[in-house]
Symmetry: C2
């Protein structure tokens, strides 16, 4: 059923109705109304299911390696047509409808931002990130360029750009070296 919703979003954008999803997936509308506030929230769940942009935080690695894994995952999800296209359609909805923006923020952006913020907070605890760094701005700097490239400039979205982003942003977030 989530796959049906994802397929519909890829074909027709986000203006898909509960009626249509129910018909195509062969389930009752009542089931859909019970579980999801809106067709857009259902589509987000379908994307979450398919995108496998993990929001899990791996322990026991250095901060830079953990962030890198997260960003490479994001670049792949955004550039892969199967996940990137419906995500872009949802983002377009988020730009024009406040309820879609809330759903997109709560179900897609916020969990990924929180995972990155957790990595940075644990980096602070491990002495790898300065305690006075503004985590929200660092998260913007790491992720916003990926969305901007995928959605607007279509510039390359590969491991090389991830490494360039990390190399430009992370030095300012690390504590001063204790000396050689």
């Amino acid at each position: 059923m989530l796959q049906t919703a994802a397929d519909l979003a890829a074909q027709s954008g986000i203006d898909v109705t509960f009626e249509r999803i129910a018909r195509e997936a062969g389930v009752s509308r009542t089931t859909l109304y019970r579980w999801w506030d809106s067709p857009q929230v259902l589509l987000l769940d379908a994307l979450l299911d398919g995108a496998r942009w993990t929001i899990e935080v791996s322990a026991g690695e250095e901060t830079v390696a953990r962030l890198r894994r997260h960003l490479v995952d994001g670049a792949r999800v955004l550039s892969d047509a199967a996940t990137g296209a419906p995500l872009r359609a949802l983002a377009a909805g988020a730009l024009t409808r406040e309820d879609v923006r809330h759903a997109f923020f709560d179900h897609w952006l916020a969990p990924r931002r929180a995972a990155a913020a957790t990595i940075l907070d644990e980096g602070v605890a491990r002495g790898e990130v300065r305690p006075d760094v503004d985590v929200e701005v660092v998260v913007d700097l790491l992720f916003a360029p990926l969305y901007h490239r995928a959605w607007l400039t279509r510039a390359p979205l590969d491991e090389q750009v991830v490494d360039e982003i990390l190399a430009l942003v992370l030095p300012s977030t690390t504590p001063p070296a204790a000396g050689p």
Copy 2:
């Protein structure tokens, strides 16, 4: 006429037609067809006219001051409802229609990116920016967070966040200090 187009975009989004703009502005459709490829390109020109996000590059200032002026200008244009709302509607169109994305890129993003790239290139010539820096990625890092905040997270978009962005990105772009 550009003001009429901007007003229509703010009211009705980007799916405005040449017919409607011509009727409201009291000009002939032929005039519009002669000057603009599509209503969306006309709307972009209307925004450019109204937004006053300068793409001029001021000379004789340090790189950081020139970039800061550019970013503060951008934050204002994106958060001001009069300019931010039609721009957001156009971006939503860019996410779903390739012709709108091209118009948005060519008429809005590219000139602003080019202005920032010029500032960075001149910074290289003045010894204030490392010659090996990837200018396109730096431009993404400086500007993408502004769009991301204005369009999706609605986090504050003020001079403080501009200064935090500059403080996190620019140190990695400056040449090693020559000593005290």
